[in-house]
Amino acid sequence: MTSAVMDAHHSEEHHGPAKGIRRWLYATNHKDIGTMYLVLSLVMFLTGGAMALVIRSELFQPGLQFIAPNVFNQLTTMHALIMVFGAVMPAFVGLANWMIPMMIGAPDMALPRMNNWSFWILPFAFLMLVATFFMPGGAPAAGWTMYPPLVLQTGDAFPYLIFSVHLLGISSIMGAINIIVTIVNMRAPDMSLLKMPMFVWTWLITAYLLLAVMPVLAGAVTMLLTDQFFGTSFFLAAGGGDPVLFQHIFWFFGHPEVYILILPAFGVISEIIPTFSRKPLFGHDSMVYAASSIAFLSFIVWAHHMFTVGMPLTGQLFFMFSTMLIAVPTGVKLFNWIATMWRGTMTFETPMLFAIAILFLFTIGGFSGIMLAIVPADIQYHDSYFVVAHFHYVLVPGSIFAIMAAVYYWLPKWSGHMYNESLGKLHFWLSAVFVNVTFFPMHFLGLAGMPRRIPDYSTQFADFNSIASVGAIGYGLSQLLFVYVVIQCVRGKGAKATSEVWDNPKGLEWTLPSPAPYHSFEVPPKVSSESAFS
């Protein structure tokens, strides 16, 4: 098998990548597919971001100024769907495509044609999803959680919503299979599992989470579909169904999904912090065990999203205890990162700045997470802006910052050129300041009693809302700087990158020239304990 793969690559090597559109349409190369994932993710990030800016503009002051309440609900729903499924997930799959073969010493991903398919499903799924804005009844407006019976009031958009979720699920499952098969079968001969870099490890765990829960989501939305069109009553009380059942199924998907969005981010910063601290990652194995524990716990905490639905007391107690337990492995990860920095010789290039900001800001999101686990307090926080603050603190300066850090970190390897460091740092500082201006006041709003998902609010919430809106506009505009920096770098405006790019980083990807060759490792590299993981 290995020789067959090698032969195929040798023959292709003579041709190089196909020319023009066919290179992308028929792409089987992990780097081309990774690039397409990342570009799609950027486009969706800007699309979802534009929606967020309309939302924040409407919320700048009390009273309705720009959009009707139903349009507002469409925007919050689509913002979430696009950011979760369109921006964060494809970005991490793109990073996995680019980096996993290079990090484990493989020539390419194990299943290149499936890789092509799993990418090319996505643009069509999102076209279908975004097209719902122009349908009678407008886009889905029941929130990304799609709770019935409300979601069944969606207009013509309803089946398109369900089918696009199905397509996104199929794409994710294929991506996950590809990643698992690649990691399990294509590692360099002497790279044992515990010698794998953390990014590969966290992605392996994430891929299993995807395999486990995407079918659950598919099942839940299919039941919505049959409730709507085929006379079933899974979730309809009038027919003997149970609306709360959907919430249980959805969050059985939804909570592992949260870790799907953050575990690869943990992997990214576990690569970056050692490089810029010039010290090996502290507690590599305990990091692996911590990530695995987080993944396991993610399956037994789902009902903490539902403390107000009227669960039995014992159920509430169980989900309170299990939820609090998550703080332990997450704390272990944080402390290991700090121990990695401890007595290193740190420099603060853009990727490192983003990684450090994640340590601070993700921890703030973690604190509000512990608060949310306390059920009596959660009853006050639930569905308020406190929750909005919490999950934006873990997703924006957690996942999104990690994606940006990863791009700055590996872009020289991809493009062969350095990005503009001062503009990168400017982008970091603008993002770090504005993200706090945007989301920190939301804690106060939630505690003061402002519910989520409302287009208009009472006047005592006015001040913090206008601060949050100003921050959002600032954060949104700052991201254009990121686009500019990336484009300039890809166009070769920066200095030539060396193969190591940074100061003696560890990991196989840095043994390849920059830009990395079309086929990463034609011959499996030798893995010394020195270069195996950082």
Binding site: L64, N73, R278, M371, A377, I379, D383
Partner: protein, 268 residues
């Protein structure tokens, strides 16, 4: 007549300063359990602050002290079983400290036995309906007209000129002070959620389900909240107003809401 009642209700509601202290923090509330909830919230908040000061302090120290300086050599250590055990154990201890009082309060919250009175709240898109069990009193509670006019996209009314903008209703829920009120919640259409921060109560109203919760307000006053579960287009426009009255005033109000009393009021 109606207009006069309307104005006096507005005046009464406006006199309350319940919303004045809604600023940075969770309200302490007016029930025993809201105070306990507030205390729990503050306790876990202070723990987070303490951990934050410690962890961020170490990080900031390290960022300054261990930055690259000429001649500095990085250390090479990469694991320590002792450290891992310590920073696994300490968080577990802190969590155990937090979990005990939380469980205690939660158990009280769920104890709906022996209520003094029961009210059935039914949610509709987008209003509430209250029925006083054992009384012949039932009514809808919708967004007050002043807010309803001002909230329109093209209203050109400044929300700041509207008293209790979006937090005012035509018929508030009225309960007596110091009585255990059991609230039964259900919905006629989609999932809604009944939330009044000052009472520390949030419970979903779900079609086909009868959820129960309870509160015992210790202070006379007017307390405002909103629907907390996305319920469609006008989710932001179904506020909840609870008026807590002295027992005599409550009895008078209850009498005035009986069908016979309402009929005679209409013929006037």
């Amino acid at each position: 007549m109606l207009r006069k009642v309307y104005l006096s209700v507005i005046g009464l509601l406006g006199a309350s300063n319940a919303s004045a202290d809604w600023t940075l923090n969770m309200p302490r509330g007016v029930t025993e359990l809201s105070a306990e909830t507030y205390a729990l919230h503050m306790q876990v908040f202070y723990w987070c602050c303490a951990i934050g000061v410690l962890v961020f302090g170490v990080m900031i120290y390290s960022l300054i002290r261990h930055r690259k300086s000429p001649g500095a050599e990085p250390a090479t250590f990469s694991h320590s079983m002792k450290a891992e055990v310590i920073w696994t154990t300490i968080p577990i201890i802190i969590l155990l400290i937090l979990v005990v009082p939380s469980a205690r309060t939660l158990i009280k919250l769920e104890d709906t036995r022996k209520p003094d009175m029961t009210i059935v709240a039914t949610a509709y898109q987008w209003r509430w309906h209250y029925r006083y069990q054992g009384q012949d009193v039932a009514f809808y509670s919708s967004l007050a007209r002043t807010s309803g006019v001002a909230r329109r996209l093209d209203s050109s009314i400044d929300p700041f000129t509207v008293e209790n903008y979006l937090l005012d209703v035509d018929n508030p829920l009225v309960v007596p002070v110091g009585r255990k009120v059991r609230l039964l919640l259900t919905s006629n259409d989609v999932v809604h959620s009944w939330w009044v921060p000052e009472l520390a109560i949030k419970k979903d109203a779900i079609p086909g389900f009868m959820n129960e919760t309870w509160f015992k307000a210790d202070v006379v006053g007017t307390y405002r909240g909103q629907c907390a579960e996305l319920c469609g287009m006008d989710h932001g426009y179904m506020p909840i107003v609870v008026k807590v009255l002295e027992p005599q005033a409550y009895a008078a109000w209850l009498a005035s809401r009986q069908p016979t009393a309402l009929q005679s009021a209409d013929t006037n």
